[in-house]
Symmetry: C2
Subunit: 110 residues, 2 copies
């Protein structure tokens, strides 16, 4: 196998997992931090900043784009990436709601 059985889970559960996957690799974390930090929206600077091959960075960018957290804009020969604000805010509320869920148990269960 090796194939996630998505049909066993709710839409919400699958959505949380998909969004979390965006952060589940340090290269994608680094890319997002760079985009946030930089005043310009960057592009191939990411390849220099992070020490991975251009093809690898491009692949991670595509994943972030597919998930919807970033979008790219062609500027001359280079591409400028930035956060998709609307989707990022949506992600924030989905992830926050999940990790902030309250435990109504007596805390000394284990």
């Amino acid at each position: 196998m090796g194939l996630t059985k998505s049909e066993k889970f709710s839409t919400k559960q699958n959505q949380i997992a998909t969004l979390a996957k965006a952060f589940a690799h340090p290269a994608r974390v680094a890319i997002l931090q760079q985009i946030f930090k930089s005043n310009t929206c960057i592009c191939g600077d990411l390849v220099d900043e992070i020490g991975l091959a251009q093809a690898t960075i491009s692949q991670h960018l595509r994943e972030l784009k597919n998930i919807g957290l970033i979008k790219g804009n062609i500027e001359g020969t280079s591409v400028c990436y930035c956060i998709d604000e609307e989707n990022w805010n949506n992600m924030k509320s989905v992830i926050s709601n999940f990790i902030e869920q309250k435990n109504n148990n007596s805390s000394d269960c284990c």
Copy 2:
């Protein structure tokens, strides 16, 4: 290849990725939700609630335990799992800080 180059990234970036991996599969999301929802700390009930094989659930539980978000307590022949409050709170602040980071760019970059 196929091996994440962790040495290229900061401790923080690797930590964020590791914590996010806990939520990056819907089965683990479902397990955590069940633990939060249930009044008792549950155990093999998870196998019935979620429709995966016992071996598969056990494997996901071990991953969550390794990451540190849950801990198990032996109760007779069964095992009761619950949230590791301290580590969960730590995870909350790490993930929150990451996703709440502010964008100081002019928002119309792309």
